[in-house]
């Protein structure tokens, strides 16, 4: 590993972007699934 790696900024941005995307997508999926399940639960109790 002789010289300092030139450039590579786009890879750094990509890494952070992927991290943000994956974590927020998963958090959103939980939120929507939870909301849908709560609505279904309340509808069933209402019946």
């Amino acid at each position: 590993m002789s010289g300092v790696i030139q450039g590579g900024e786009e890879f750094v941005i990509a890494a952070y972007a992927v991290t943000a995307a994956v974590l927020s997508a998963y958090a959103a999926s939980i939120y929507f699934r939870l909301r849908a399940e709560k609505r279904r639960a309340s509808r069933e109790e209402g019946r």
């Binding site: 450039g7 750094v12 991290t19």
Partner: protein
């Protein structure tokens, strides 16, 4: 604290975690000096290493839930197991992506068979198979026991996978991700680590609540006895 008052805790953990990750990332991206050898690419470490720690923590928590369910048979452990497994897979998958993005500028290839990353990839498949097993098991009781057993075995298998890949791969080069990170870079690393920790614990708590809701029929108590009085004891059946 009664469960009712704990409702706000999980979302709060998620928000605090997200904030910490943003702060840590910002620090790592903009304030921290570039590393001597690797220059800019080093900044990926501030998010890669904390993800690695937390992926292992999430799966260890899943292992704990699996053991607790096998020993106590209490449904809340099954809910937490399902949540922790899903979180572990997501974090491990994220780890593989980060590893690939890191390997490209550093080694010129997207995947350099680094023992830890390869083990993570195997772990994603091994642990990811368990939610599939749960999807195909109809009887909730049996599905829960199976996934707990599969989780225990998968967890016991990971170290062996690591050593076998390490030996198998030892011909190329020893270790491609740096073990130690010099002190100047510790702060962003530590902040991100706690950030992701709060984030995934909050998400697991919410995801467990979802599992509990889905199982409410299976764990609801039986209908009250007085309905029995409705049918005359000596009447016809």
């Amino acid at each position: 604290m009664s469960p009712r008052s704990r409702q706000w805790l999980a979302p709060a953990l998620v928000v605090v975690g997200a904030a910490l990750v943003c702060a840590g990332s910002a620090w790592g991206l903009f304030k921290a000096p570039p590393e001597v050898f690797m220059g800019e690419v080093q900044r990926i470490m501030y998010v890669h290493v904390p993800t690695a720690w937390n992926a292992m923590l999430a799966l260890s928590f899943a292992f704990g839930c699996a053991l607790a369910f096998l020993l106590t048979g209490d449904w809340k452990w099954d809910n937490r197991l399902e949540a922790a497994l899903e979180m572990g897979v997501v974090l491990s998958l994220l780890l593989c992506m980060q590893g690939a993005i890191w390997a490209k500028p550093t080694w010129g290839v997207w995947w350099d068979w680094d023992p830890r990353l390869t083990t993570t990839a195997v772990r994603v498949l091994a642990v990811g198979a368990i939610p599939a097993l749960r999807a195909f098991g109809e009887v909730p009781g049996r599905r829960a026991v199976w996934s707990a057993v599969a989780c225990v075995i998968a967890f016991a298998d990971v170290p062996i996978v690591y050593f076998s890949v390490k030996w198998w791969n030892s011909l190329h080069q020893a270790q491609s991700t740096p073990e130690t990170v010099s002190s100047a870079f510790h702060w962003p690393l530590r902040i991100n680590a706690f950030g992701i920790l709060f984030l995934w614990t909050g998400l697991v708590a919410l995801r467990a609540r979802l599992s509990a809701l889905r199982l409410r029929e299976e764990t609801a108590p039986p209908p009250p006895a007085e309905a029995a009085a409705a049918t005359p004891a000596q009447g016809a059946w």
